[in-house]
């Protein structure tokens, strides 16, 4: 490498003002209201009377320079040379002309990018790196994401759900994908096997690996005369936290790493407070490339919610209203013991009342 001539400028994030459509600069902070002329299109009106349309489209999320350049082409052609991404990896083009909206829709659809994800639709799934890049994944989140989005495609391009539906999927229990109305997350079903060779090779700091375990199940030990670690299997809760600290704590397994489904996460403060999602199905096979069993469960849940939810009722709010018993009935899923919490705050989730449905 040649001698470095550039002195780093710790510039932080670039200034957003240079990245905005002129109508957005002009009306910055002065928007008055919005409408949704059709699925995938927003219309924001400013106090000045100015209008900006947004066209939202689904993307690969694991993109390429070619894909992004095509978006840039479209932005240049229709949107004044500006575009943005949503927190859910959808791309958005802003324009003040309805003709541009129509042009964008046509061209995006021709390129295979569905228009939608607005209002009470199922938006793009938030997902994580998986086998493509992460060092601890037990599945490929991108593949699960693609497989699910293929199934819910029609719900992305329409607005027929009771309220917004947010999906996520994560390739280990850490859950970089976050809380969602429906989340598909890896679940480990046995303790890590310890690769003593690897530990002997010194790839891990043993004390910090021990410290990482939430239930103090890891203990220092000696194997073949050299320091290593052991796991007290009765204590271990199969969380995989140790694997993040130390690759020698092998938690992943082609058959014993499964998928679990969680529902009712909510992040907004609208009406009810934000809520954690709850476990409703576990032990689904990790079945690439299409994970059909996962897709089936997601479909069942969406169908029941679509049928039963009231306007503005998020997934979790709908379930709270009808009760968990009916949720399981209507989705055909089976409640079992493992869905009863037995971790630190378990008691808070017990039914501490005589309230009971028969």
């Amino acid at each position: 490498m040649a001698k470095r001539e550039w002195d780093t400028i710790e510039s932080g994030p670039p200034d957003h003002m240079q990245m905005l459509h002129p109508v957005m600069v002009k009306n910055y902070g002065k928007w008055k209201y919005h409408e949704r002329p059709r699925p995938g299109v927003l219309k924001h009106t400013a106090e000045s009377g100015d209008v900006i349309y947004t066209v939202r489209a689904g993307t690969e999320r694991q993109d390429t320079v070619d894909i992004i350049r095509r978006f840039c082409d479209l932005a240049d052609k229709y949107a004044g040379g500006y575009l943005r991404w949503t927190v859910r990896n959808n791309v958005e083009f802003m324009t003040d002309s309805w003709e541009s909206v129509e042009g964008l829709i046509k061209e995006l659809e021709a390129l295979g990018h569905p228009i939608g994800g607005t209002g009470p639709s199922v938006s793009a799934i938030a997902h994580t790196q998986g086998w493509l890049h992460c060092d601890i994944p037990a599945t490929d989140a991108s593949g699960v994401a693609k497989s699910i989005m293929d199934i819910v495609h029609d719900e992305f391009i329409s607005e027929e759900m009771p309220n917004r539906v947010k999906l996520s999927t994560s390739c280990c229990e850490i859950n970089c994908g976050g809380q969602a109305d429906i989340a598909v997350i890896i679940q480990h079903t046995r303790p890590p096997r310890i690769n003593h060779e690897a530990l002997h090779a010194g790839i891990c700091e043993l004390p910090s690996t021990v410290a990482r375990c939430p239930v103090a199940a890891i203990r220092p030990t000696t194997v073949d005369g050299k320091p290593s670690l052991m796991v007290v299997e009765e204590k271990c809760i199969y969380c995989g936290a140790c694997f993040g600290a130390c690759p020698g704590m092998e938690i992943n397994h082609p058959d014993y790493s499964k998928l679990a489904i969680w529902v009712g996460g909510k992040n907004s403060n609208a009406r009810t407070k934000p809520a954690n999602m709850k476990l409703v199905c576990h032990g689904l096979p990790n079945n690439p490339p299409r994970w059909p069993e996962v897709g089936d469960v997601v479909k069942r849940i969406l169908a029941a919610y679509k049928e039963g939810g009231r306007d503005w009722e998020r997934m979790g709010e709908w379930i709270d209203r009808i009760g968990w018993k009916r949720f399981f009935e209507e989705t055909g899923l089976t409640f079992d013991m493992y869905m009863i919490d037995n971790y630190r705050h378990a008691r808070q989730s017990f039914n501490q009342s005589a309230h009971v449905r028969f």
């Binding site: 069993e293 968990w324 018993k325 055909g332 089976t334 869905m339 009863i340 005589a354 449905r357």
Partner: protein, 412 residues
């Protein structure tokens, strides 16, 4: 001690303040009985109590006092300042189990009072928070005789210490239209069945059972007992349409909407013209609508008990409310009662064998985890047990679980 007159009280300037005011005064009562009986133990107790009011400290300490063959039932109290107040040097309490529901006939009660006046102080606590008839103030010498006498009349001691405790029942079917099971009988039979464990502390810690006829839980069972027996029903709420119409007429539509329709916790009730409709599938048996419209609505006919486990007081973990463990069990026939007893035996035995010293069953379940508990007890997990499924991913289901079995069965 006051000179001369043995019926003369010593000055109790602090306590005297408690003779004022409209509510019945226990100090007045104590003085009255002392003045009549001259039982100096009362005077001693008043003196010591007044001293406590002055110094803001208590002066009783425990010890071991009991009756032949029993390990529990007497709370022993010795004065720590008997040099100052020798008259209440010993001041033990005898805990007596009343009839379920705290029902008495005057003849049975008078027998007891007479014996108490003979052997004890004449002070009576009706009742202790657990439901005992507490006879306060007796010296060790008199305890056995007093017990033998009352035992002859059909009374038995209650619990104290690490044993099954005296239970409480609401008035139940004796007078309440809400009662969904015969809680008085279940109380009576279960406590009799557990007599050995009531009288002989041999458990890790106390066990309390409370019996409420319905979810109004007038015994505070869920909060105050390890095993709360709450009456409930499985079928539909019974509706007397004539009385319902009467309510609409007498109370008015607004009242019904504001106090019934909008107050159902699950919106199971809808207004339908000039009447209401109850979606019994959504009803969680909270009792509210029945409480507001008792003439028109009543619990269904398929009645039984919900059992909640693990309620207890503040100690160590903060207040614990009992949690639903057995959503529905029948208690009509002798066979039902046997099943109930067997189930209770299993609960108690399992806890007794595995709990730490001074660990109530609620704390025990919290420590070992609900999964272990259900598995060891051979109980099936049901959604009734939780407000919602778990929200953290730390569970160990094992890899042989097949989540699709049921779905496929349904499809196939």
């Amino acid at each position: 001690m006051a000179d001369g007159n043995e019926f003369q009280l010593n000055p109790t300037s602090k306590l005297d303040e408690l003779e004022k005011g409209p509510w019945p005064s226990f100090i007045k009562g104590f003085k009255e009985t002392f003045r009549r009986t001259g039982n100096t133990m009362i005077r001693g107790a008043l003196d010591q109590l007044n001293y406590s009011y002055e110094t803001k400290m208590g002066y009783w300490k425990g010890g071991v006092v009991g009756v032949h063959g029993y390990g529990a039932g007497i709370i022993s109290r010795y004065s720590m300042i008997s040099d100052l107040f020798p008259e209440a040097k010993e001041f033990h309490t005898v805990r007596i189990q009343p009839a379920p529901g705290l029902h008495y006939s005057t003849d049975k009660l008078r027998e007891l009072l007479d014996l108490w006046e003979k052997y004890g102080s004449g002070l009576v606590n009706m009742h202790g928070q657990s439901g005992n008839l507490q006879m306060i103030g007796i010296s060790q010498d008199n305890v056995q005789e007093f017990f033998d006498e009352i035992n002859k009349k059909g009374w038995d001691l209650g619990g104290a210490g690490a044993c099954v405790r005296t239970s409480a029942s609401c008035v139940g079917p004796a007078r309440c239209e809400m009662a969904c099971y015969d809680n008085l009988k279940v109380h009576h039979d279960l406590l009799t069945y557990f007599s050995d464990l009531v009288h002989r502390p041999q458990l890790p810690y106390k066990i309390k059972m409370k019996f409420s006829g319905c979810p109004n839980d007038c015994t505070n069972a869920i909060q105050r007992s390890d095993f709360a027996y709450i009456g409930t029903w499985r079928d539909d709420i019974k509706v007397d349409t004539t009385e319902l119409a009467n309510y609409f007429e007498s109370k008015g539509l607004d009242y019904i909407v504001n106090n019934v329709v909008t107050r159902c916790p699950t919106n199971a009730i809808t207004l339908a013209g000039n009447t209401i409709e109850i979606n019994n599938k959504e009803c969680v048996r909270c009792m509210h609508c029945i409480n507001v419209l008792p003439k028109a609505l009543s619990p269904g006919d398929d009645r039984g008990i919900s059992i909640l486990v693990g309620g207890k007081g503040h100690l160590k973990v903060g207040n614990m409310l009992g949690a639903m463990m057995v959503p529905f069990i029948k208690a009509d026939t002798e066979e039902d009662m046997e099943k109930l007893q067997d189930m209770m035996d299993e609960f108690v035995d399992y806890w007794a064998e595995n709990a730490l010293d001074h660990e109530r069953i609620g704390e025990f379940i919290e420590r070992i985890g609900m999964h272990q508990f259900l598995e060891d007890m051979g109980m099936e997990a049901t959604l009734d047990m939780v407000s919602h499924p778990r929200d953290n991913p730390y569970f160990k289901a094992g890899h042989d679980h097949d989540p699709l079995k049921n779905i496929q069965q349904a499809a196939g």
